[in-house]
């Protein structure tokens, strides 16, 4: 592991930018999980993943090379990071449709 996220990760957006290039777990509202390397994301939280694995009920169902995930479906999380805090309210920040932000096992 490259260690903890920098304490300079102040905003949710900074946090997300800081995990580009890392293995992430993306959980959709439907409960499907996608694991892959976060290639990039945008303001809608559209997400591009590389080497993506699709897990339904925790079971590997599919794998894709590159994947585009439409932003309204998702929520993101990442290895070793437990939360993304809003510096103003000091509360855990919810990203529109986020269910939660959890830690994924690093590979």
């Amino acid at each position: 592991m490259e260690g903890k996220p920098q304490s300079s990760s102040r905003t949710p957006s900074d946090f997300l930018n800081s995990v580009i290039g890392r293995q992430v777990l993306v959980k959709l509202n439907s409960g499907i999980d996608y694991k892959g390397v976060l290639a990039c994301l945008d303001g809608y939280m559209n997400i591009a993943l590389e080497n993506t694995e699709e897990y339904v009920d925790g079971k590997l169902k599919n794998s894709y090379g590159d994947t585009f995930i439409r932003g309204n479906n998702g929520m993101i999380s990442r290895n070793g990071v437990l939360s993304c805090r809003d510096p103003v309210t000091d509360t855990t920040f919810a990203l529109s449709t986020v269910l939660y932000i959890s830690a994924a096992k690093s590979t």
Binding site: I32, N46, Y64, D66, F68, R70
Partner: protein, 101 residues
Amino acid sequence: MADINPTIPDTGAVEEPIDLVRLSLDERIYVKLRGDRELRGRLHAFDGHLNLVLGEVEETITIVDVNEDTNEEVIRIVKRNSDMLFVRGDGVILLSPPSRA
């Protein structure tokens, strides 16, 4: 049409997720939709909503029937083909370029 950031040349660089879609233009792609539907087809056009125009499309619909007597779940796969299909973007969950489409 694919008019998002038209100034960015098609260099193969993926700087934002939509670039991945742009790079798949005129390629066969796999699209996962809400409602247990999947599409495989050639991407003719898209926009920022992920509205898509697909050609030579095979749609796969997965239907789970529950047998009322035995409570068994029976999974049925229904396929249909369309020459040309417009897909409203809000139904799109995931889109993956050619590799496995």
